[in-house]
């Protein structure tokens, strides 16, 4: 099996799902002729035509609304927001409409739509091309929110998202799109990774780290380095933020007694708070140390200048420091 990048995994899932089900279609800015600004949708329009791979006007609320309307009619739209930063104009459609169709109609209407959005920084994207906005969506019942880390999961989870009967916000960390170190062997054919399941990607006994996206990879790197220092770190790839796999999280903390959460989004009000709160409430008796969060700095957007961007970001060194401190507590 050839090694594939995250980007190839996402693209493969789209190709396969569009072939499998003619109700699946893709829409967004520049997704057609251009193949997406990241080239994720490259080749799709050639195979499936302009109707099923639709270049939209620059209008995010319409991208969401049109996708929702088509989903209510039984289609399976996959709407792309060019950057997660630009999903904001569609917030009303996503949280008031997509997330509520089933509940508000007492199960007589549903809205099986996927919203894809490249997120995250470390690519000198500056204040408006680096945002991690997962917490803003994970807080809404009715939505599912997916943040894979590995190519295998990107493909399997995107397929699951497209087949899911409820709306899914699918975040793709743009820095990992083509990162060679993140490549993985993935099967060419059909497989599903179920939504809502976290995965222990490295077992350990001294402390547990919970992460997703780029930070999962950096945590893993730090965790491996810790081995040499005799600190055994368990790393859990959350994969889905909503529904959150509480069981896997709590099992891990109950085993190690120490928990650390890493994300790139800024700390205060970020998704880490929810995980920390769950652990603090439900694994209280097992905790040997305070639950620690490591996250992006609390500034209004990741700055552009390299020196500032680096300062903003968690990284393997900062994560390793955190691990040491936590293990030593």
């Amino acid at each position: 099996m050839p090694l594939k990048t995250v980007l190839e995994a996402v693209r493969e899932a789209l190709f396969e799902e569009m072939r499998r089900d003619e109700n699946v279609f893709v829409l967004g800015e520049d997704v057609g002729q251009r193949g997406g600004v990241f080239r994720v949708t490259e080749g799709l329009q050639k195979e499936f035509g302009e109707m099923r791979v639709l270049d939209t006007p620059l209008a995010e609320s319409a991208i969401a609304g049109v996708a929702i309307g088509a989903a209510v009619r039984g289609m399976r739209p996959v709407a792309e927001f060019q950057f997660a930063d630009f999903i904001h104009p569609a917030v009303e459609q996503i949280i008031d409409e997509a997330a509520r169709f089933r509940y508000r109609s007492n199960n007589t209407f549903s809205c099986p739509v996927v919203f894809r959005a490249p997120y995250g920084g470390g690519v000198q994207g500056g204040m408006y091309h680096s945002q991690s906005v997962e917490a803003m969506f994970a807080m809404w019942p009715g939505l599912k929110v997916v943040t894979p880390s590995f190519p295998y999961d990107y493909k399997g989870l995107l397929k699951a998202a497209i087949r899911d009967n409820d709306p899914v916000v699918f975040f793709e960390h743009k820095k990992t799109y083509s990162l060679p170190s993140v490549k993985q062997e993935i099967p060419a054919g059909d497989y599903i990774v179920p939504l809502g399941k976290a995965k222990v990607v490295k077992e350990g006994t001294n402390l547990s780290v919970f992460a997703y996206g780029m930070m999962l990879h950096q945590s893993l790197q730090a965790a491996r380095a810790m081995e040499q220092e005799g600190i055994s770190v368990e790393v859990v790839d959350l994969r889905t933020l909503r529904p959150l796999d509480r069981e896997t999280i709590l099992n891990s903390v109950r085993k190690t007694g120490r928990a650390m959460i890493v994300h790139e989004a800024n700390l205060f009000g970020g998704f880490g708070g929810e995980i920390a709160a769950i652990i603090a409430e439900e694994a209280f008796e097992w905790l040997d140390a305070p639950v620690r969060r490591l996250a992006g700095l609390d500034v209004p957007g990741m700055p552009f200048a390299l020196a500032l961007e680096e300062e903003f970001m968690p990284n393997p060194t900062k994560i390793a420091d955190g691990m040491r401190q936590l293990a030593a507590y």
């Binding site: 279609f25 109707m51 099923r52 639709l54 939209t56 006007p57 209008a59 609320s61 319409a62 969401a64 609304g65 049109v66 996708a67 929702i68 309307g69 088509a70 989903a71 209510v72 009619r73 039984g74 289609m75 739209p77 104009p89 009303e92 459609q93 008031d96 409409e97 509520r100 169709f101 089933r102 509940y103 508000r104 109609s105 007492n106 199960n107 007589t108 209407f109 549903s110 099986p112 019942p141 009715g142 599912k144 009967n165 409820d166």
Partner: protein, 358 residues
């Protein structure tokens, strides 16, 4: 209702004379439009039913039996006219919270409305989860209404796009108030629909106010329909209180959409008689005189007069229709009042699909 509509819609193109014929004095407008006498009377009934039901709901509100009312009184002709032009259960409708008369004439029963109004477990629109007037009925392809204004517009566009992808000839209709046209969604929806020549009819029920804000503070133009030129689609102004004119315009827009010629923006000029909702007091922003003036143009009285003048109904006939409506409303109320409230146990259901469901 449904079969009548379907026949009409099917036969329309053949039976409808060309516009020029409209000046021929020998044929009355209703005949010219290809409406049967029965259908004329049925439309009258729908107007009366909507008004009767609406009034009863206000009464229930004053009696403390329902917490919230928002009403279509004054706007019935626009809604009944469009309902007659579309095929309920085949075409797709994205209504709004003032679409009571539309819902009824599409085939929602007064009992279904009452169950919704009284937030009963059997409420087919929302199981008591939504405010009253947030209609939705799957069997009619009438899509669940939400409260945020104008969100339905891009969704209706998406429905039109779905039709194009599926290759069906369904027309999608969506309804919005004048206020809703100020929101960005209006722009994004119409633009998108025009680009792809989608089979969508956008209907603005211009009742002169967004709650208290008059048209003059909402826009600097005379007709909302004129905005159609900004998208490259036809825009039509119609007297929303003139049922037959509405029907004519609705048929044109429907035909255009069904033929694949694209979307139309229709502006129906009308008025609401009631305050914005039971939480509103309209004396703060409009005069009694203004309301009275519009009361003189009541679409129901206008249609009654038309029926009389054309010998389609007698005073006794009118009374019979009113009685029929009253009886339907009373039965609906009786049933709905006796129906059980939603059980608190159900609150966590349907956040997501249950095992094995769509």
């Amino acid at each position: 209702m449904r079969s009548t509509n379907e026949t009409t819609a099917k036969d329309r193109k053949e039976t409808l004379p060309q516009p020029a014929a409209a000046t021929q004095p020998a044929v009355s407008k209703w005949q010219e439009l290809g409406i049967s006498k029965n259908d004329m009377l049925e439309m009258y009934y729908q107007l009366v039913l909507a008004r009767t039901l609406d009034e009863r709901i206000w009464l229930l509100n004053r009696q403390g039996k329902t917490a919230f009312v928002i009403s279509c009184a004054g706007q019935e002709a626009t809604q009944v006219g469009f309902a007659k032009a579309l095929k309920p259960g085949y075409d797709v409708v994205w209504p709004y919270y003032r679409s009571l008369a539309l819902a009824l004439s599409m085939g929602m029963t007064p009992t279904e409305v009452m169950l919704h109004q009284l937030s009963k477990a059997e409420d087919p629109s929302s199981g008591g989860r939504q405010m009253p007037a947030h209609f939705g009925l799957a069997r009619l392809n009438m899509v669940s209404v939400s409260s945020p204004v104008a969100t339905q517009l891009t969704q209706a566009t998406g429905s039109g796009y779905a039709s194009k992808l599926k290759g069906d000839d369904k027309v999608t209709y969506t309804f919005v108030g004048d206020g809703g046209t100020s929101k960005g969604d209006f722009h994004e929806a119409l633009n998108f629909a025009a680009i792809h020549s989608l089979p969508v009819v956008f209907v603005v029920e211009n009742n002169g106010y967004a709650i208290s804000v008059p048209i003059s503070k909402q826009m600097h133009i005379a007709n909302i329909a004129d905005r159609a030129t900004a998208y490259g689609m036809p825009g039509v102004v119609v007297d929303g209180n003139d049922l037959l004119e509405v029907y004519r315009v609705a048929c044109d827009a429907t035909d255009r959409a069904r033929r694949g010629d694209g979307p139309t923006l229709v502006e129906a000029k009308t008025y609401r008689y009631r305050p914005h909702s039971s939480s509103d007091d309209d004396r703060a922003y409009r005069t009694k005189e203004e309301v009275e003036e519009w009361r003189l143009k009541d679409p129901i009285i206008g249609f009654e007069r038309y029926l009389e003048e054309h010998g389609l109904i007698t005073k006794e006939g009118e009374q019979a229709v009113r009685n029929r409506a009253k009886q339907a409303v009373e039965e609906a109320q009786r049933y709905a009042e006796a129906a059980p409230n939603p059980s608190p146990d159900t609150i966590m259901r349907y956040v997501y699909a249950e095992e094995g469901q769509n």
